[in-house]
């Protein structure tokens, strides 16, 4: 492997160039979305962006609603950056990176109110559907945030309810209905990175070592923002944030187009 230092990547960015020959705001290819990769999940997808591969599996269970929202179900998103997916990961409980990844993807969907939570309620104050999405990396080759956000939205579109018998209260996970989740919006996060004052998307692992700041922007199909997360130590100017959001909205539209 050729060792390239951060300075080289920064120098190239100044000349609008990247190591793999892409434009600064160009995604890697292929962008591939494969559905139904796990028969045991209520929904499952495999998302690939370049060499980054992530799986998402959705499970449903019936639980008691929270006291402050007695007529609503719920959603939780979890991420496992497993040691199978890269030499930098070790076995053990989720680290900071996994927790941030899961929470940013979670907020993008939750705050957009992408799912009609009231439609998940079965018996007010007693029973409602709760959704869990687990994101598991297979190969981390950079830009996990966008891949994970795409996988989460794809699996929400794909999932169907398992058969449920209200009289006995038993869920038959082996029998799937044809009823999809009450998904009313399609929020997607896009992460824009700053290197040498330039704005880039879809960084490789190598490029991730060289970024100064990043901003993840989750937006729905109408361009309404539902989550923001700044990362990296360098500050961003308001003028830069303005440009980042424009770029993120454009790229969210592009990624949403890949889902169809």
């Amino acid at each position: 492997m050729i060792i390239v230092n951060k300075e080289t990547i920064a120098q190239l960015a100044l000349q609008d160039k990247r190591l793999d020959g892409r434009g600064l705001t160009e995604y890697r290819t292929p962008i591939a979305i494969e559905t139904n990769i796990s028969k045991t999940a209520e929904g499952s997808v495999r998302v690939q962006i370049g060499q980054t591969i992530i799986l998402a599996g959705l499970k449903m269970a019936i639980e008691k609603p929270y006291n402050d929202t007695p007529d609503e179900g719920g959603i939780m998103i979890n991420a496992e950056l497993v040691p199978l997916s890269g030499p930098q990961y070790e076995p053990g409980p989720p680290g900071k990176k996994a927790v941030e990844l899961a929470r940013v993807v979670d907020r993008g969907i939750r705050e957009a109110k992408a799912i009609d939570m009231k439609k998940l309620c079965l018996v007010q104050g007693e029973k409602a559907w709760f959704i869990t999405i687990d994101l598991v990396t297979l190969n981390d080759a950079g830009n996990l945030l966008d891949a994970a956000g795409l996988a989460a939205l794809a699996v929400l579109k794909e999932a169907v309810f398992p058969a449920y018998e209200p009289h006995t209260g038993v869920i038959d996970y082996k029998t799937k209905t044809d009823q999809h989740l009450p998904l009313i919006k399609e929020p997607l996060p896009v992460t824009v990175y700053k290197i040498s004052g330039q704005l880039l998307v879809d960084l490789t692992s190598q490029e991730e070592d060289a970024f100064e700041a990043r901003l993840t922007v989750a937006s729905d199909e109408k361009g309404i923002l539902s989550a923001l997360q700044k990362g990296g130590e360098a500050p961003l100017s308001i003028e830069e944030i303005d440009r980042i959001i424009d770029l993120a909205l454009e790229k969210a539209k592009f990624l949403r187009g890949q889902l169809k």
Partner: protein, 231 residues
């Protein structure tokens, strides 16, 4: 003998359909995908690499470590809480013992070869699928191996000896035994042997003879995957 026709219509010694592919995880030094019926395993091998903490190092040879994990959505019922449990720890241990006899790391003292298995969907036979996947991944990584390890379960359902039980057979309402076996291709030695359920010694020996033929079928799939990888 009440169990004449298997729940999925297979012959007694017939394995579920298998698929395998080597080199599926670009970051890993070696990797593989192995599918048998509805059980799917991904395996990745990293190393030989430096081993820390240092007291774990062996100055005479490199060592291997196995980590088996079911993805949270891979079980037939409710979501599985991530983070491992007693079962996954035990399977990781028996996997290490099933694979160690064929691996020669004497050229790489003080190092470790880390082996990770993740299962996205399961329907019985997960530890065998995991071992079969890892053996492909080790060969893909170029780790020195003295023999090939192939693994599949055999067992007995209501008096009939069968190969490769699926979940519905393991849960069959009669006396059932499930015997995961790993066998070496050349020497036919056994490197994994566990059993739960009930079986007579006579039937056990019949089952182990069946395992010889069954693991050969797994071996053929493993070899095909490796040949395709290096074509």
């Amino acid at each position: 003998m009440a169990y004449k026709k298997r729940v999925d219509g297979r012959k007694v010694d017939e394995l579920r359909p298998m698929e395998a592919k080597a080199g599926v995880i670009p970051n890993a030094d070696g990797s593989a995908y192995f599918k048998i019926g509805n059980t799917v395993a991904y395996a990745a091998v990293y190393g030989p690499r430096e081993l820390y903490p240092k007291f774990l190092q062996n100055p005479k040879t490199g060592i291997i470590r196995c980590f088996y994990n079911m993805m949270p959505f891979s079980g037939s019922g409710e979501r599985i809480r991530p983070g491992g449990n007693r079962r996954s720890k035990e399977i990781s241990l028996v996997m290490t013992n099933a694979l160690a006899p064929v691996i020669d790391l004497s050229e790489f003292p003080n190092t470790v070869v880390d082996i990770f298995v993740e299962l996205p969907q399961t329907d019985a036979g997960t530890r065998c699928a995991a071992i079969s996947a890892v053996a492909i991944a080790l060969a893909d990584a170029g780790i020195p191996m003295k023999d090939m390890v192939s693994s599949v379960a055999v067992g007995q359902v209501d008096g009939t000896v069968v190969a490769d039980l699926n979940y519905n057979e393991e849960a069959y309402p009669a006396i059932v035994s499930d015997i995961p076996v790993a066998m070496l291709h050349n020497s036919k030695q056994v490197t994994l042997l566990q059993m739960d359920g009930e079986i007579s010694k006579k039937d056990l020996l019949v089952a182990l003879e069946m395992a010889k033929i069954a693991t050969e079928q797994v071996y053929a799939v493993q070899m095909k995957a490796l040949k395709e990888r290096f074509q």
